[in-house]
Amino acid sequence: MTYHLPAFRHPHSPPNSAGHTYRDYEGVISTLCAGCGHDSISAALVQTCYELSIEPHQVAKLSGIGCSSKTPNYFLGYSHGFNAVHGRMPSVATGANLANPNLLYLGVSGDGDTASIGMGQFVHAIRRNLNITYLVENNGCYGLTKGQPSATADHNSPNKSGEINEHISVDLCGLALQLGCGYVARGFSGDKKQLIPLLKGALTYKGFAFVDILSPCVTFNNHAESSKSYDHIRAHAVMMGELDFVPAYEEIVVESAPRKVQRVQLHDGSSVFLYKTGDDDIDLSDATAALNFLRTHIDSGHITTGLLHCNGAGLELHQTLNTSETAFNQLSEKELCPGNQVLQQINHSLSVIR
């Protein structure tokens, strides 16, 4: 925790196209441990929203319980937030989204919150293609309850006190891909440069956009043997390619450099560009290929980061439910209440002697 609120973090940030300064995207001071990966993610979110010129109050922030789930308090202070119960944020987000599709829904969770107690809700929110940006701030442990291994803790590696975790580790990106999630990415809290375009893509994507963000817990899971430590991630990360995000309102100029470029167009016209860096060649729209890539690299001890999959095919929940354009919470009594005349017709259909 930084005890003193820096008077002005970005004193010279100019207003963005929506007229907001950087400051308008900040929240209250974090109470997390100094150096916690989660704080970097909050910072990246602030920058992302600032750069995307999102209206802060048009965002609804939802989370579960955990250090990670506390973070929505630390950014976007003008947004409403909802710290739900442990592991159940997806359902609360689903209900909120049903009530009003016109806000931007940002779900923040932890690996404990999502991969243990919240596994069921996570899977089913993906199944329904809820229109949300869903972040897991993944540190392989339960920070807030003092460091127990989570379901994403490495298989066969020791925790801080030397105990070996013998259970299979859940790869949330692999899971999301297998479940048919349309936007799947992995970032690292320590790599803002890569993280921000991933977040931009996710926030612009219409449907369930999942970003698994490796976010070291400096207090409980940053020791040498942990694959969720800063050092390990830096040493073992394999980047899927360099990413660039171009909002809908900017002119798109595809770089003519010899690097191979993949462009993914999002629903609102924005684009994500993937610049190939290594030898691997994977089609971003092919989930099976992504899954293969991921599994192969895991087998050889690597951590894949970057945009793994992006596909615009699925209908998001409001589309499948064919709901009104007007948010439910804005519908008038006239639209809601069929009135007594209709009720008398219903009575008639139920009347004994008609």
Binding site: G95, A96, A99, N100, R128, N322, T323, S324, N329
Partner: protein
Amino acid sequence: MQTVNALNEFVIKLANVNGSGSASANHILVSSICAMQVPATAKNIFPSNIQGLATWYVVRVSERGYLASTNRVHFMVCMNPQSIGRDIAEVCAGGYVLYDSSRPLSPDLMRSDVHYIAIPLIEICNREYDDPRQRQLFKNVMYVGALVSLLKIEYEVACAMIHRQFQGKKKLIEPNIHALQLGYDYAQAHYPSPIGLAVARRNLIGERIVIDGNSALALGALYGGATVATWYPITPSTSVVEAFKRYASQHRVDKDTGRCNYAVLQAEDEIAAIGMVIGAGWNGARAFTATSGPGISLMNEFFGLAYFAEVPAVIFDVQRVGPSTGLPTRTQQSDILLTAYASHGDTKHVLLFPSTPNECFEFAALAFDLADKLQTPIFVMSDLDLGMNEILSEPLQWDDSRHYDRGKVMDADQLEALNEEYGRYLDVDGDGICYRTLPGTHPTKGSFFTRGSAHNRYAAYSESGEHYADNMDRLQVKWRTAHQFMPMAELLIGDGNADIGVIFFGSSRYAALEALDQTAQMNITADLLQIKAFPFGDEIISFIESHQQVFIIEQNRDAQLCTLLLKEYDIPSRKLLSILHYDGTPITADHIIHQFTSQLQNEVSPDLLMRRQAG
């Protein structure tokens, strides 16, 4: 041999095998009687399985207007070889047994004190139909035909009911009428019309409708402005959401765009269902879930969140027999204690107890106003008996001048006009209810963080014991405010001056009314009070205070509502006597009369002593 002779006042029980298509035939029977303007109700007793087990349909014909369940059977239709022994044993002396005489009845099923009506149903079917499915289905309509003859139900009325039943599938009308005729003819040829029991046209129905409580809840939700319905299938609540979806698809679709002004979402489990309701409520939509006991248990954690974070939510609990999976297709009122104090920590919840489909409709709609006004979960406590049986009811009414009460929600203008700092949990009006804002309302004002962790008046996270206690005390103030919004208890029988008072709630209504009608004829006067909601109003306390002895009718083992009374108010517990019924069948007037009179005689019965001493 004695013979039961009764006109318009008797009970027919139909013993069938489930999945055999008897429901539609039985429905023709009861609706024909009603169509002759003679009140009749039907109770469907069905197993927790899909096909092949015993199911019963009990039709009570009562021109006195008794709508309660009863265990007296005057006429048994035996269509289930598995249960035939039990079924025949149930018939009262002098009553009737209709059986399929295609095969001879085993001699040990022969009683000397009942009348047997032998109709060779399978034989006729096999003669008439080739298709086994048809044989099965039309057998049912055939016994209805026989009953039409035996009870002297108007034949044309029965035909009209077949027409109505198969409106959508016109092809089925002719063959059904043919089957009806076959049964009718056989009975006409072999038995008198009527037998000792008969139905005769009256003028006792008027405008009344038949509707089950679950459909009424659904309509209440529709009229109450619910837009989000989330659920996980569970008997006996499933049909609430199904009915909501059906009605909403008829009356809530935008004519121009074809888009829905509602969303029905099947959740992955009950925890998710209530989470969605809370999310929607937080975001300003009226939302509900319908469930039953196991779902209520699972939702516990979320109920506490909604109580503490003050988020509106509506829960329809259609109760069934617990504990655990219990008897999923039987009725009970046994979630009272759990819902009243649901979730860990100090919590209290508002409960509404509808006793008729009309009240299901009213209280469902009311629940949404209450949830918004009190910013808390509201439980509408129905049960399987009320929810899944069609009940003769007054037509539903909606006052078009009525407006939704959205409670204290600040919009952008109000926020703009605010002089002081906005505080989500600031009790500016002194009623314990604070102003909320919806996400996205204002660019810079009124945003706050909703959380289940302790908070101060400005919704900021706080670990201060003072802030915490301040908030908990305000929630108590809100609870006191809630009292004034609750529907008042209603005196249904008596003038309040009797020595003995009787209290009931929920679906015990019809049995209670019948029982007190009967005891009045035995010259026992008692006042009958219906409790409609928790927290309890002063009128309930006065009622108890002004009576020497008060009986409380409950359909559970542990006298759960009585516990709430004892806990929440300073009532000497020896004043309260319990009439309990908990075997899963709907309570009957006979049961009430028996427990009532025997406890009256003993003043304090051994039963009750046991409960008191042993806890």
